[in-house]
Each structure stands twice: as C-alpha cells, then as structure tokens.
C-alpha cells in the first residue's frame, strides 16, 4: 500500500500540468532531481527537514525553468521534456560520482521524521505515521476538490481545454499554465523525497521509470484524481507482486510483471479498456 505513494504524487503532478495544457514528460527527471536534492542536503546539513525544503525548492526552480521553455518560448513541450529528463538524470549521475566518488549510490542518510504515536498501530502503523503517505491519500480529495470545485480549478481546466475562450473571459492563460507547471514540480518533488527518505540512500537508477509509470497512471485514470488513484494502486500492487516474485522465484518471470503497467497503458490507449480523452488543448503552446 505504501508503494503507491510515488506513483500517485507523480501522476497528480502530471495531471495538474496537463490539465493546464502543458504535457510534462519530464516527471521522471523531476523525481530524480528531488530525490537527489533531498539526499544531498540531508547529508550535508544533517537535517531531513532542510533536505525536504531544498528538494522542493530545487524541483520548483526546475519547473520554473521548464515553463520558461514551454510557456514563454513556446518550445515543443515533448522535446523540451526529453531535454529536461536527460539534463536532470545526467546531473544526478554526475553529482553522485563527483561528490561521493562512487558511481552507484550516496552514503546513507536520515529519513523524514514520522508521527511517532501512530507508529505502534499494528499493520497500518507504517502507513499512518508517514506524513507524505498521508498527504498522498488526502490528495485524492484535495486534487478532486481543487480541480473540480474551485474557481482556480475551473480556470486551470479551461486553459487546458480551450485557451482562446479562457482568454476572452479575461483569464490570464499563461499564468494558469505556470501555476499548473509549478504545482507539478512541487508534487513530483514530494514523490522523489519520499523514495529517497524511504530507502535512506540515493542510487542511480533507483527511480526506475516511476515517472513514466505515473504518466501512464494518469492516462489510464483519464485525468481524474479518483481514477488515477485506482490506477496507481494497481501499479503498486504489480510492483509488490514483482518484488515477492523475485524473492520466491516462481515460474512467472519478473520481467513479465515488470512490463505489465506499460502493457495495460498501451491497451487502454488503443481503446480496449474504455476510451480516454486528454484535455483538448493539451500540448499546444499558447
């Protein structure tokens, strides 16, 4: 159940961006850079809180840079996304080797503090005592509320569906796109922080495509927070299954389970499992 956290944070990150009409395929990069940021600043400051704050700041600054490219300069969002992914993944690879003279991982560091009195609850203690996991669960309601029940959400969605109409009603289109991208950077950073905090170390390749699975979950979830939640739970289940298969070594090859999320996404896209429809002006610069 805990494994769904990074997927759901990442998928919501992608969703806020796409709802405003900006395709951000660099979620993977954002998660990597925030996990690394958390790792570095926790190690050098000795405080997980400093790590958390800095990781969020780093991710948000990258999302500002990303919006400079795609909103201000109107560069093709996908190409820019690929560029950002390469840059951020490259930075992570480089910094680990440069700072720790190790090509694989950082030294161990502290995780985020927990809500201690909840930790002793049987079974659920590990879930209930983790702020970020709790936030992810709350996010189901928060995202739904913000996107569909507030003026902000309505405007954000209108910018992603029909920016011309939004503009004519006096909505600052580019500003709302900027909001979308910044929220995206923020949520993605929490995903990265959680992963790093949970493993107590950052290693190259630890994100392992979770950013892409998050995007897949968003598509399967049809850009709706509740459906995305179900999709993420399903993917988390596959991940848990994969881990237990690797441990027990049954006849089902773990590679097959590994590719399941991507297979399912493809099938959904092809239309075997219900129709999906992205925001109408998704990916079109304005």
């Amino acid at each position: 159940m805990r494994l769904f956290t990074p997927y759901y944070l990442g998928a919501n990150a992608a969703n806020f961006s796409e709802r405003s009409g900006v395709i951000n395929i660099a979620i993977e990069g954002f998660i990597i850079i925030s996990a690394l940021g958390y790792a570095l600043f926790t190690i050098f400051s000795g405080s997980a809180i400093v790590g958390l704050v800095m990781a969020v700041l780093i991710s948000v600054s990258f999302s500002l840079l990303f919006s400079l490219f795609v909103i201000k300069l109107k560069i093709n969002q996908i190409v820019a996304g690929v560029g950002f992914n390469l840059l951020m993944a490259g930075l992570a690879k480089f910094l680990i080797v440069f700072l720790f003279q190790s090509s694989s991982n950082t030294p161990r560091f502290n995780s985020l503090p927990n809500i201690f009195f909840l930790e002793s609850i049987p079974y659920l203690g590990k879930v209930l005592s983790d702020y970020i996991i709790l936030f992810s669960f709350a996010l189901v309601f928060i995202s739904n509320f913000v996107l569909f029940k507030t003026k902000f959400g309505l405007r954000l969605r209108s910018v992603g569906e029909n920016p011309e109409a939004g503009e004519s009603l006096g909505i600052k289109v580019r500003l709302y796109k900027l909001y979308g991208v910044i929220i995206c950077g923020f949520l993605a950073s929490l995903g990265g922080i959680w992963l790093a905090s949970n493993q107590n170390s950052f290693s190259d390749g630890m994100i392992a495509g979770r950013g892409y699975i998050a995007i897949a979950a968003m598509i399967i979830g049809k850009w709706k927070p509740v459906n995305i939640f179900i999709a993420c739970m399903m993917f988390a289940f596959f991940e848990a299954l994969e881990i237990s298969l690797q441990i027990s070594g049954t006849f089902i090859p773990s590679q097959i389970v590994q590719m399941l999320p991507y297979m399912i996404t493809l099938l959904v896209l092809i239309g075997f499992i219900g129709k999906t429809k992205p925001p109408a002006a998704d990916g079109i610069p304005y």
């Binding site: 395709i23 395929i25 490219f69 300069l73 109107k74 560069i75 093709n76 996908i78 190409v79 820019a80 690929v82 560029g83 950002f84 992914n85 390469l86 840059l87 951020m88 993944a89 490259g90 930075l91 690879k93 480089f94 680990i96 080797v97 440069f98 090509s103 495509g209 892409y212 995007i215 897949a216 598509i219 090859p253 590679q255 097959i256 590994q258 590719m259 991507y262 297979m263 996404t265 493809l266 896209l269 092809i270 239309g271 990916g283």
Partner: protein, 343 residues
Amino acid sequence: MSKKIKANIISISVSVLLTFLITVLVLLIIGKNPAEVFIMMFEDVFGSGYGFGQTLFKATPLIICGCGLAICFHASLFNIGAEGQLNAGAFVTALVAFALSNAGFLIAVPAALICGFIVSGALGLVPAVIKVKKGVSEVITTIMMNFIILASINFFLIDFFAVKSTVHTEKIPDGIMISKMSDLLPGFQGSSLNLTFVFAILMAVATYFFIYKTKTGYKIRSVGFNETASRYMGIKTNRIVMLAFFIGSGLTSFVGMNFIMGYKGYYEFGFSNNLGFTAIAVALLAKNNPIGIIFSALLFGFLDYGGLAVNTLVPKEIMFVIQGIVILTILSVDKLVEKYYLK
C-alpha cells in the same frame, strides 16, 4: 545563401558556443580548471590514432541512429522509442548472425542485418499504426514500448539465449566479423573503429538523398510540415506516417553492426547505454539534416571519448549533463533566432 540556411547556421553555432560556455562555467563552479580539462581532452583525442579512432567509433552508432530518427522527425513523428527499437534489432542481428555463421560472411551478415531491420521496423510500426488508427500520440506509445521491449529482451536473453551467467549472447565466429579499420590503416592500432564507420557515412549520404531528393522523401517532409494540407494534395498521409516510422526505426537496428560485428561479436544487454536518447540530441542539433548529423555525431563522439579521457579530472558522467544542455540550448536559441532574426 537563403536567410533560412543562415538562420540555421547562426542558431547551431550559437548553441554550440553557449553549451561550451555553460560547460566552462560548470567546470569553474566545481573548482576545475577548464583549460586543463579541454587541453587534456584534445591531446587524447587528436594526439594518437587510437584516441581519434575511438572518437570515430563512438560517433558511428550515433550517425546511424541519428539518421533513422531524422526520417521520423522529418515526418513530425517524435520517435522516443529508438532505445527499444535498436536493442531489439541488434539482439535479433546477433542471433541470426550466430545461427547462420556456417553460411559464410556474404550470407550471414546481410541476412542478420535485414532481419534486424525488419524487427526494429516492425516495432516502429506499432506506434505508427496506433497513431494512425486511434490518434494516440506516438510519444506516449514509444515511451511505453521502450519499457516493454527492453523487459522482453531481458526475458528472452536470460531465459533462452544468453551464455550462462552473463547477459550476452554467444560470440559469432571471426569469419563473419567486419574488418577493423586498423587492418587497413595501421595508424588506428588498438582502436575498435571498424568499417561500420564507412557504412554509417554512406548511410547518412543515402538518407540525405532519400529525404531531400526523392518523391517519398518529399512526401515525408510534406506530411511533417502540414499533414492536413498534404492529405488534400492527395498524399496518403497515413501510409507515409507508417512508412517513415518503419524505415526510421528499422535503420536504428544497424547500430548492432558496429557493436556486434565490428567490436564484441555478441549482443550484450545494456550495450546501447541510452544511445537512442543521445541520438535525439544528435539529430536535433543537426536540424535533422543527415549530413549535419555526421558532424553532430562526431561532436558527441568527441565528448563521449573525451569524457573518458579526462575521467581522472572530471567524472565522465558530466557528458550526460552536456547532452541535456545541448538539447535545451538548441531549442531555445532556435526559437530566439526565429523570433528576432527571421522576422
């Protein structure tokens, strides 16, 4: 010279310069002497036949893969799936070459390359068909396909084809290996550079003619420029999309020739080391012009081998950072040139 070509030259040179400056800045920030790093890099690359050969060797697959991608990009198809496509093609190339190794060089090598081409091309057709039939963006499908293909290769390789406790296939006999360049030009002694480099150059020239001088190439560019208008002009746009994807993805499989027949003799999981993504940067920097791709691939080959050469001063991983910076600078400089020079 038309204004458009001038604009291209300006934006390419400004981007390269800008990337260079940012790299210098990064080196200064981490407390290294940029001059020292660059001198060492130049000495290693141009100081010996070995270094120069290795640079060309690294550039070879980038030229091949970059040309394949350029065909897709000319049709405005953003194929991010090269990493998966080329791995599948190379994997099959190695298997076929090994299976036919008794048939001799002249049969085994072409057969292996053709089979690789077909497999990569067919995998490229999947996103093309989904795009044409269902209107789903090729970007998402190719990303998903990358993971699916790589996991499948891993499965087949480890469970069926790999030499025990390794992640590579059986080695093909020397009889069907491609000659090393050093056999012809002793100056390249010790370097892995092989005749695939010559093949890659010829391929770039052929791709150039295909894109700019043939009817099909014209149609591909037309569809890339304006699909709706092309359809009204009577071009069968769906067919062109599928064709561009098939040929473009198929060509990426030829990188296997460099690694398998020219170097190791077997397919090894992870040999590509993000080649499919680096080639995106190569093609973008060259504005998808195959002749330009030769030069941008050489630049990246230089960075790749040069990075290894200066590894004692700066971790070679800095090259991944530079790749990202190249893409982002070329994108932004392009837009600025378009805005302030072409208007």
